[in-house]
Symmetry: C2
Subunit: 642 residues, 2 copies
DNA sequence: TGCATGTTTATAAACAACGGC
DNA sequence: CTGCCGTTGTTTATAAACATG
């Protein structure tokens, strides 16, 4: 342990099979589970897949030291992503200490990521980037530069750079910028410093894109909105504040050339049921919140913060009270913005090839009984009582990172450390009046954090379509990640140890003018991108005559689709598992500091991001004992427990 | 009554206020409801808005004969669409007989639709169209041509024309076409005849678009998929069958130039939770079904079938056993396909300005108690028992349209009358084995048709964002239209009276070759539209270098967004309610045949389509009495009941 | 490898409701 | 007081990226 950084490893998107090994306590019957006999079962005999004893939509892959790396990788990558499309549905791998050689794993991961010739290319790029960004990183004892594994997202640190209080932003950006400017104090020494030694210099276009050079963050809008909202103690955020937060934390949204991102934010807020809107008591302001049952408590600081000594202090490195930012780099298979666009008018924001979604381990209660493979039961069980019944007093992560179990104190995580102050003073005032946590939903905040049995039942019976093609199981229809009431530092990134202090970040007071914003309307597009509208006023409405001009467009409109008749889906020829001998850069041992009891890999099936995590092994023992689940033999899974 | 056709009137999209008139039985306290004091309350004193005694997310607008048309229109159009975004959430207006002068209403509606100068334009167009299509329609007693009200959708009848068994379709169309050809018998004398006197001639580009001239149907994908699936007795349909059905019924999808519509279909299937996927017992074939609770039983035949004597027989005109097609005409503000596209590469399928969604009145049980304004209660109540407890034996709509109450027989509606035969024989065989209605969901078919209380509760507590900006009420969060177990002919369109016969349409037997399809691959795009991919093979994967080419794209990519800095949202200047005196075509009395007891307007808030319907007034009496709701005084609402 | 089927995310848009000016 | 316009919200349409078989 302690030898690998928390830095997430990103493997190519693959699905993980969710073999329903009935008995999670099965004494590591060395081979496949009783469940489905899919190919994924026949991993190396030493790799065992078990249902996670605590999280419903989760499995454990136990990887002994003797495990072959190939089998490990295969277990992690071979078909899967069974269920839990929308929600969490995490795949948690708890490897025994030392079982996962970081260096080797990284190496393999890298091969998966950049097979064949692509690897060399990537490596070279990474090297170049590394020098720009972290010239001294190579010699910190972690020779295998993390940027090789996080390559996709480490390239550009400025993606997270704070807004420079730009006044020249167009109408779209103006508003958010104003919001930002209005509350410098709430930034808590924002990124600039957090980004570590990054001089912001580097290549000119990289440092300050501003002209189409901004890079799409590796997170989806849904994820980033969660980051934003969860950065508030009260979990309430107005749309404006969300805008501002995004601009504050992602350079991408400060790019003036970006259009439509606000529309996308609103779209995501409306589309995803996890985001619900609440009105202030007076009905003047509407806040966006995250449905408690669906709130995974994601915060930006949970994702690995690159830019600084990557391998250092995985769990609770005492950050200088500044929420570190994470550099990002989208693969951008298609030139994101300034591409030639000669052919088809590139999308403004091509989808990032992969997303980095921090996995949060609710180390708090909720243990599902061992031998109940009943469908959906774990989830429902979890929803029942004992939510915060007992909380372990795990070390509050004070000093460094040793066994910082992230106290379960129900304080709302201000994890992000960069709490965007509310936009208007009015809003803030109203916010205070907003029932802390959806009172009208009939569930108090503290209790709302668990699913109610009825909801679980409904989820279960929904029997809808999951991501799995085969409909393998209706179970875990919507895994509905159990919500750990705050699991603040479980991801270990450890913002400043805001563990026990009430809430350090609500100085507030910066009332911003309600309408002061300088109308620098440069491109006064309303937040919803609109078409030319060409001749406004004239032919205003129902001029549909052009539709069927007699004589018709003989040979179709010039969509120039005909040009490329090939179907998409490139990158199919990767030969993922062809051979483990591809040209890989030096696999360096990533032995770093860290006191964690166990380290593991977390594959977030939502975005298929694989991260190495440090797990507080004390999480389940207490609760297991309380539930009579002491016989779950977690100790078997995690030798350190013994 | 009987004097207005079922032809839906389409008004401009407006929201209807859902004033929570606490007591649905309130004796028409002539003025506004106790609920919100919004402006919408102050309709003409004669118009009363009541909670619908039967349908949870529904209200009744009682419009006495003396009501001013202005107030009627206002009641129908002024702000609303409070809740029930996704689901039904209908707004039902039961006007007393004669209260709604069709002619006047049409006139007013027309003004709303085409205010100002646009009207003239529309009218002229319509006239032209009318002559092409229905040269003899003007003198059938309904001088006010329906095409004036349905103008948007009546223009092109061929939008519904059957596929001509085109073999020249590309890969996309090929499959579906093959499916169609394989089962001519299932077509039940398809459209060609149903389209009435339409000679298919007309303007050349109109009759057989084929080259970008096809017109987008006035339905959303979600709606059309429902049409398709509900056309099956078993409610099961494979993706291929859905494709085929759509091509069969909408010319739009037979247009070879159409790309991406299959992608959109799949997208909709996946996106909307109402569509759930089921596997055949052997797991070989997957069928798409509609979640019973969400199934409104929409069928294509429920929408008014134009093309023929528009004003005739609104309810149950004895159609010649052929499912009539409905002509459609999108307003197509922006040239849909072959537009110049000089500016911005027009969307292939610009959103239709409005959709026609047939409203189905579940005339079966489910009555909500009168004086329970409790939030969400009605829905939950409705979900409880007495689902199919008692069914009235209403006339099975046999002869004509008089009081055809659409027997509640639980036979799955084959309403459409054009049951698409299953694609492959294999599928059919497997289909038979598919548990009739989602067995794995833990709820038998018969009982699954109602929401369970828990579900209602969940919906209620979801407290999510509705469409209403004000979040006026959390109640009826997701109205979740009570599902009438088949309400076959409630909409009155009355396909052939397939009321009591088991199921006349499963001749089947046309086994189609599994892989016979002629590979006329003209534009072998996979169903998911893909980008050029340009140089495939090379730079296969992670070549993100172009992203930040040093020096950067100095002045942004040529998105040419700068060209149109105006914000969208055109058509704002319509002055919807400015004056009722706009240049309107001759408002003609649309007195037509019809035996209905009461006629009314139905505003489907899902798509804001306003339709005039014929209501079987016997629907609620029995059930009301059973529930002790006899005092709801439905008779007050509908004088005919007395 | 190509294709069919599914699942998600990104973007653009159409519109509704509201609020400020 | 009214209308224009921008903000906020809700939905639908399309294109795409990917996964699986
Ligand atoms: Mg939402
Ligand atoms: Mg679905």
């Amino acid at each position: 342990m302690r030898r690998s950084p928390r830095r997430p490893l990103i493997l190519k998107r693959r699905k993980l099979p969710f073999q329903q090994s009935a008995a999670p306590v099965s004494q590591d019957s060395s081979q496949a589970q009783p469940g489905r006999s899919s190919s994924s079962e026949r991993f190396s005999d030493t790799v065992r897949v078990l249902d996670h004893p605590i999280f419903p939509g989760t499995q454990l892959v136990v990887i002994p030291k003797t495990a072959e790396l190939r089998s490990v990788i295969e277990a992690l990558t071979v078909k899967g992503k069974e269920h839990g499309a929308q929600g969490p549905n995490k795949f948690i791998l708890l490897g025994e200490s030392g079982s996962l050689d970081s260096g080797l794993l990284n190496k393999t991961a890298q091969e998966l990521l950049f097979p064949g010739s692509a690897v060399a290319q990537q490596v070279s790029r990474t090297a170049a980037f590394t020098e720009v960004k972290q010239p001294k990183k190579q010699d910190d004892g972690c020779p295998f530069d993390d940027s090789l594994t996080n390559m996709q997202w480490l390239e550009r640190c400025d993606a997270f750079q704070p807004a420079p209080a730009d006044d020249k932003s167009d109408k779209e950006n103006r508003t958010a910028a104003a919001v930002l400017e209005g509350r410098p104090h709430t930034l808590h020494s924002v990124p600039e410093a957090a980004c570590g030694s990054l001089p912001e210099t580097g290549t000119a276009p990289v440092s300050r894109p501003r002209d189409g050079g901004s890079i799409k963050p590796p997170f989806s809008y849904m994820t980033m909105i969660q980051f934003a909202i969860n950065s508030r103690q009260d979990g309430l955020m107005t749309l404006k504040e969300i805008y501002a937060w995004l601009q504050q934390h992602f350079d991408f949204f400060r790019d003036e050339n970006r259009r439509g991102w606000k529309n996308s934010v609103r779209h995501n807020l409306s589309l995803h049921k996890m985001f619900i809107r609440k009105m202030s008591p007076d009905g003047k302001v509407s806040f966006w919140t995250i449905r408690p049952e669906a709130n995974r408590g994601l915060t930006l600081d949970q994702v690995y913060t690159a830019g600084c000594n990557p391998v250092a202090a995985p769990v609770a490195r005492p950050v200088p009270a500044s929420p570190r930012q994470q550099p990002t780099l989208p693969v951008a298979k298609k030139a994101p913005t300034g591409s030639g666009s000669s052919k088809q008018m590139k999308r403004l924001l091509p989808r990032a090839p992969s997303y980095l979604v921090p996995v949060q381990l609710p180390l708090s209660a909720i243990v599902c009984p061992p031998s109940t493979p009943a469908v959906g039961l774990p989830a429902r069980r979890a929803a029942s009582s004992l939510c915060k019944a007992k909380r372990r007093r795990n070390a509050p992560k004070e000093h460094d990172l040793s066994k910082t179990a992230t106290s379960i104190a129900s304080r709302r995580s201000t994890n992000d450390g960069v709490p965007i102050a509310c936009d208007h003073v009015k809003d803030e005032a109203r916010r205070a009046k907003v029932p802390k946590v959806e009172p009208e939903e009939g569930r108090a905040r503290p209790t709302a954090q668990r699913r109610s049995p009825k909801m679980a039942a409904r989820r279960q019976q929904a029997g809808g379509s999951r991501r799995k093609q085969r409909l393998v199981r209706t179970r875990h229809e919507e895994p509905l990640l159990v919500y750990s009431q705050n699991s603040d530092g479980d991801s270990g990134i450890a913002t400043s140890s805001t563990c026990l202090d009430a809430e350090p970040d609500l100085p507030d007071g910066w009332l911003h003018s309600s309408k002061t914003p300088i109308k620098a309307g440069r491109r006064l597009a309303s937040s919803t991108p609109s078409k030319p509208t060409a001749d406004s006023g004239g032919q205003s409405t129902l001029d549909f005559s052009p539709i069927r001009t007699p004589g018709g467009p003989a040979r179709a409109p010039p969509h120039d689709y005909t040009a490329f008749s090939v179907d998409g889906t490139p990158f199919k020829d990767w030969a993922l598992f062809s051979d483990a001998a591809a040209g890989s850069p030096p696999g360096l041992p990533s032995a770093c500091s860290g006191e964690l009891l166990a380290e593991g890999l977390v594959l977030d099936t939502l975005n298929d991001s694989l991260s190495k995590i440090l797990v507080d092994l004390s999480f389940g023992l207490d609760d297991v004992g309380d539930l009579g689940l002491a016989d779950v033999s977690l100790s078997e899974l995690i030798p350190q427990l013994k």
